[in-house]
């Protein structure tokens, strides 16, 4: 009998191709939209969170310019720092693990026929510690190299790929503008940062080498400070602000001409933003689910006259109420399952394609998929089954006369 019911349901589905297709389509659209949007939303959140954490945890960044600007915004006209500022922070402020003065510029680097526009940073070995960089091969700078400002460099993975291809870069020569420079180390790849920028696209040289040979001054553009894990970054931030205000002779009541960014703060702000974004995406997804549901509802309601007559005919030839209902239920469930599966498949492929395109990880969230699947199924069953139940309660002759 069960098998017979399933056969009946399948026959009915096949017979009413258009209605079945439209019903399934409603489910497909709803489920696909939710699956794709939520997957992408989660991927973006994860990408931002992990991108920020890759910048280095407990990291503070000191930059010239009034507070309120964003990190990485156009360099202000405010007085630059110098190496002594960094040294003062390292010496006088507690809870600090590593302080890295950084001077940087966009420079064309050349090896043989290959050239590659990259950012060059002049700094100290503390830079690697503060940014939690590790070496893939080679070594860091020696004290002698840092002191003398020797033309040696540590390069990122992206630079290696573009300039050296398959050959081992260690010990090879690289030209930064006119300046020849020996590669002594290769950094392990970190991947994309929080803003989608490539953190591996970098060449690092001793600060003195940068100041003397590239910048031609003794300026430091910004200072990265890593606080110790057991220290509150807010306090370190306050201490740095006080120290620099003193060193730069900024009186009380005057505005700072520098700012200290707390990456932990930025990280939580960013993840708040992405949470809001994910919420928005989910709302959009919920709307499409609703639209799909309304589509199903419409089709079911439009076909209710015909279906009521069908029920009348079946009852008239001796079908029991529950046999008719079982058929309609199986029909609705089969369509919902079928539509749901296709919807999930389409949604996941869309999400995978978009993840590749947006360069965010593909984060599979089973609860959402199952949830949207169940919602659509519920709509299908609700609007397929309940009108049928009403019709099956009628006298067969009334069902047959239904208009």
């Amino acid at each position: 009998m069960f098998l017979e019911t399933i056969l009946l349901a399948f026959r009915a589905i096949r017979r009413n191709t258009l209605r079945s297709t439209l019903t399934a389509l409603g489910i497909i659209i709803g489920v696909a939209a939710v699956t794709a949007l939520v997957t992408i939303g989660n991927g973006t959140t994860q990408s931002v969170v992990s991108g920020v954490s890759r910048l280095g945890s407990n990291l503070l960044s000191v930059r010239p310019g009034e507070p309120g600007g964003a990190p990485g915004s156009a360099r202000s006209t405010a007085r630059p720092f110098n190496a002594a500022d960094a040294a003062a922070i390292a010496d006088q402020i507690g809870g600090v693990k590593a302080v890295a003065p950084i001077a940087s510029a966009k420079v064309t680097s050349v090896v043989g026929n290959e050239n590659w526009e990259t950012s060059v940073a002049g700094t100290l070995n503390t830079y690697f510690e503060a940014g939690q960089w590790t070496l893939a091969s080679g070594r860091l700078f020696t004290e002698g190299e840092l002191h003398a400002g020797n033309p040696v460099c540590v390069i990122g993975e992206t630079v290696r790929r573009h300039l050296f291809g398959k050959s081992d870069p260690i010990g090879q020569a690289l030209r930064l503008q006119r300046i020849p420079c020996t590669v002594i180390g290769l950094l392990a790849s970190k991947g994309a940062g929080a803003f989608g920028m490539d953190q591996d696209d970098i060449v690092i040289i001793p600060l003195r080498a940068f100041q003397r040979r590239i910048a031609g001054n003794i300026d430091v553009d910004f200072i990265n400070v890593a606080a110790r894990a057991d220290t509150a970054t807010a306090k370190v931030k306050r201490d740095i602000e006080n120290l620099l205000r003193e060193r730069r002779r900024i009186g009380t009541g005057q505005r700072d001409d520098f700012s200290v960014f707390d990456m932990t703060e930025i990280s939580s702000t960013l993840s708040n933003i992405t949470t809001v974004l994910t919420g928005l995406l989910s709302a959009v997804a919920a709307v499409s689910l609703l639209v799909g549901g309304i589509g199903i509802m419409n089709i079911m309601l439009v076909s209710v006259t015909e279906r009521t007559r069908e029920i009348g005919i079946r009852l008239a030839v001796g079908a029991l109420r529950r046999q008719v209902l079982a058929q309609f239920l199986v029909e609705a469930v089969v369509l919902s399952l079928f539509g749901g599966l296709i919807g999930v498949a389409i949604g996941l492929s869309l999400a995978a394609a978009m993840a590749g395109w947006l360069n965010v990880p593909f984060v599979f969230e089973p609860t959402v998929v199952v949830g949207s699947f169940m919602f659509s199924g519920l709509v299908g069953v609700l609007f397929g089954y309940f009108p049928a139940r009403r019709a099956a309660n009628l006298n067969p002759i009334d069902a047959l006369r239904h208009e």
Binding site: V317, N393, N395
Partner: protein, 236 residues
């Protein structure tokens, strides 16, 4: 009343009204009628006289608003929906005035429909359905959907669906209403054969005296009541 066997159907003061208040239509107002097993009864009467209403009640498709309807001594009014469905499934074949075929469903599948609910295997179902289609002269039309068939052909599919189960009682509401004389005669011969050789009790509504002449008993309705109930001496 003439009877050839035990009573199959007993209508006792049967009434059926539609609507309420001043809009009430009394389609049946106290109909009493006994039909014995093996009878062939024609019901005649002007349009709107309550023939279809009475047939629907006899087919357990509708419930009366007054009086009683007994099927083989069973008070149908006291049965549940499912029990009436089982009566229809096992004892009754019904030809609707308006055919009532499943749309987009081949003729043969329409004819097979009652057998599905009798839990019959696919092969047996198919052969019985083919046989019924042949009996109504529709061999070769098995795979046509109702909308690809003429009115008369649809009517014959409806007849085939009603006789495929070899029911104890065949209720036919104007089964030849859409057929030409030659086809009508064929169908009448089929009904007589089913009545004589298989002992199927037949109640048939018709407007045509020529068709009513085949029945052994003619009941005339007027305004929801039985006007006359006569034996037909001319019956073949």
């Amino acid at each position: 009343m003439p009877s050839t066997g035990p009573v199959l159907i007993k209508l006792q003061d049967l009434a059926r009204s539609y609507g309420q208040g001043s809009a009430t239509v009394n389609a049946l107002r106290g109909v009493s009628l006994d039909i014995a097993e093996g009878e062939f009864v024609a019901i005649m009467g002007p349009s709107g006289s309550g023939k279809s209403t009475c047939m629907n009640i006899m087919g357990c498709l509708d419930t009366p608003t007054g009086g009683h309807f007994y099927f083989r001594g069973l008070d149908v009014g006291a049965l549940s929906n499912d029990q009436r469905a089982l009566l229809r499934r096992h004892y009754i074949g019904f030809v609707f005035q308006g055919y009532n075929l499943l749309p987009r469903t081949s003729a043969i599948e329409n004819v097979e429909l009652p057998l599905i609910y009798r839990q019959m295997g696919a092969r047996e179902r198919r052969s019985l359905a083919l046989n019924a289609m042949r009996q109504v002269g529709l061999a070769g039309w098995e795979n046509h959907a109702p909308n690809e068939l003429s009115g008369g052909q649809q009517q014959r599919v409806a007849i085939a669906r009603a006789i495929v189960t070899a029911p104890a009682l065949l209720l036919a509401d104007e089964p030849t209403g859409n057929l030409d004389t030659a086809r009508s005669l064929e169908i009448m011969n089929l009904l007589i054969r089913l009545n004589r050789s298989e002992g199927i009790t037949i109640v048939m509504v018709t407007h045509e005296p020529d068709m009513a002449a085949f029945a052994r008993r003619i009941v005339r309705f007027k305004d929801g009541e039985i006007e006359t109930d006569q034996l037909n001496s001319k019956a073949a």
